[in-house]
Amino acid sequence: MANITFVEASGQSTTVNLADGWSLMQGATANGIDGILGECGGSCACATCHCYVDESRLGDLSPASEGELAMLENVAAERRPNSRLACQIKASAALEGLLVHLPATQE
């Protein structure tokens, strides 16, 4: 389990408790967080679950795969060094307290 805090572009902050193995995208959409769309359902095919991960915690995440890096080229908002796709980040105890900012637009 991990508590993950999503901060939407509006400043709205929501903390959700995610079971191990759930993707951050699925955790966000299942908990009514609007700043993530996840149109493709989590198959790394649409770039609408773009998020900015707290930079100090990047090392706690598995690195982005080639597929994710390629898909990040398609994000609608500005791509930054801490840009990730939330469908590719899986919750685990290592991510406890992670802060994730969401962009103003996903499409």
């Binding site: 759930w22 959409t29 299942a30 493709c40 989590g42």
Partner: protein
């Protein structure tokens, strides 16, 4: 004694009371009839979809699998093989790459639904299946017009038949296998045509696609093409039937989307939640899993009942209401995780355009029959006939 038999006509017709019992009383249920476990709660299904290492698709993802198919298609393979194949073809299915199809799809919709002008009663299946086959032919690049090698109706009939199973024998019958074999032969002819003279269409693209010198082998191209035709005709056609069924049943929802077509996307999402045509898919366990006091063993098959997770009151309040203002985020109408439907963007686009044009010709309609004949399928659910009257 409760039983859940995904091959029974009663489940084809109305699975929802069974699902409710499964979720409340037996959320990890062994079905002797199906010879598999059934997971019915939203969170359990999402957990399984996220964990492909445990819940493998490599032994097939259809509840009743077709011979020789498992392991060679996107839906029936696991990463890393799955990711390689998906990388080769998913580009074409991204929303921004479908924009060029918008006008052709609208032209098809206008032509097909235009036939209903002045008609008082019709079977929606007639128009929805014409529309889906034409859209699919345009999107995949199946030969049409002078180039056509068979007529549309034949493609349609075989695609519909190959996903069904025999209600009595609980297996694919000879007619279903024959349809599947026909589709493979058809696909192989199309692939040969496109390889000889590649064009800018999906089949040409993925038959020739290359990443770092890696290409799909002939069997992968063939079975993936066959699956795309099946998924396109059956899943999109089935979903359109369910959407029309909902709008014909719930007057207020229909009136709202007819008055304001911008509400169509919300109504489509709610239909995907409320009664998606993709009701149940299966996985196979790669290790023992204990859930709700039951231990499922390595090698056991597990049914993920998307249609039930979508009605789980633990996730969606008042789940049995069709409410187009719900915005049902995270629904399982397209599955989820690495195997989430490849065609989400084209399905959403095509169905929105279809109903926009359909409603311009037929803004008022209702169901003629109360009881409908439902397709015999352990995986998909949609009516075989949907008579509508204006």
């Amino acid at each position: 004694m409760f039983s859940f038999d995904p091959y029974s006509p009663a489940v084809d017709a109305d699975p929802f009371p069974y699902y409710k019992h499964l979720r409340d009383v037996a959320p990890c249920f062994w079905s002797p009839e199906a010879q598999m476990w059934v997971l019915s709660r939203y969170t359990d299904i999402v957990t399984a979809l996220n964990d492909w290492e445990t819940y493998s698709s490599a032994s097939g993802n259809l509840m009743t699998e077709l011979p020789g198919r498992a392991g060679a298609t996107l839906g029936s393979s696991d990463p890393p093989k799955h990711d390689r194949m998906r990388a080769l073809i998913q580009h074409a299915f991204m929303k921004r790459n479908l924009l060029a199809l918008e006008e052709p799809i609208r032209a098809i919709a206008q032509q097909v639904f235009g036939q209903l002008k002045g008609v008082k009663q019709f079977d929606f299946k007639e128009v929805s299946s014409q529309f889906t086959v034409k859209v699919l032919m345009a999107a995949l690049g199946l030969p049409m017009g002078d180039e056509a090698i068979v007529d549309e109706q034949t493609v349609r009939d075989n695609a519909v038949l190959m996903v069904q199973s025999d209600a009595r024998t609980r297996a694919k019958g000879p007619e279903h296998i024959a349809a599947y074999n026909w589709m493979q032969e058809y696909a192989s002819k199309v692939i040969a045509m496109r390889k000889a003279e590649p064009r800018n269409d999906l089949i040409s693209n993925f038959a020739m696609a290359e990443i770092d010198g890696d290409r799909l082998d002939d069997r992968e191209v063939l079975l993936t093409t066959t699956t795309l035709i099946m998924a396109g005709v059956e899943s999109m056609g089935g979903f359109m039937m369910m959407f029309a069924y909902n709008l014909a049943t719930f007057d207020e929802a229909r009136k709202a989307v007819v008055a304001n077509p911008e509400l169509l996307p919300d109504a489509i999402e709610e239909s995907l939640r409320f009664n998606t045509s993709a009701q149940r898919f299966r996985r196979r366990l790669m290790k023992d899993v204990t859930l709700h006091g039951q231990t499922m063993k390595t090698g056991d098959f597990v049914c993920l009942a998307y249609g039930s997770g979508n009605r789980d009151e633990r996730q969606y309040p008042n789940p049995d209401a069709y409410d187009i203002s719900r915005k049902p985020r995270g629904h399982l109408g397209f599955g989820g995780g690495v195997h989430a439907c490849l065609g989400t963007a084209i399905a959403r686009l095509a169905v929105k355009i279809a109903f926009d044009e359909f409603h311009k010709v037929v803004p008022e309609y209702h169901r003629v029959a109360d009881q409908l004949p439902w397709m015999p399928s352990s995986t998909f659910r949609s009516p075989l006939v949907l008579e509508l009257a204006v």
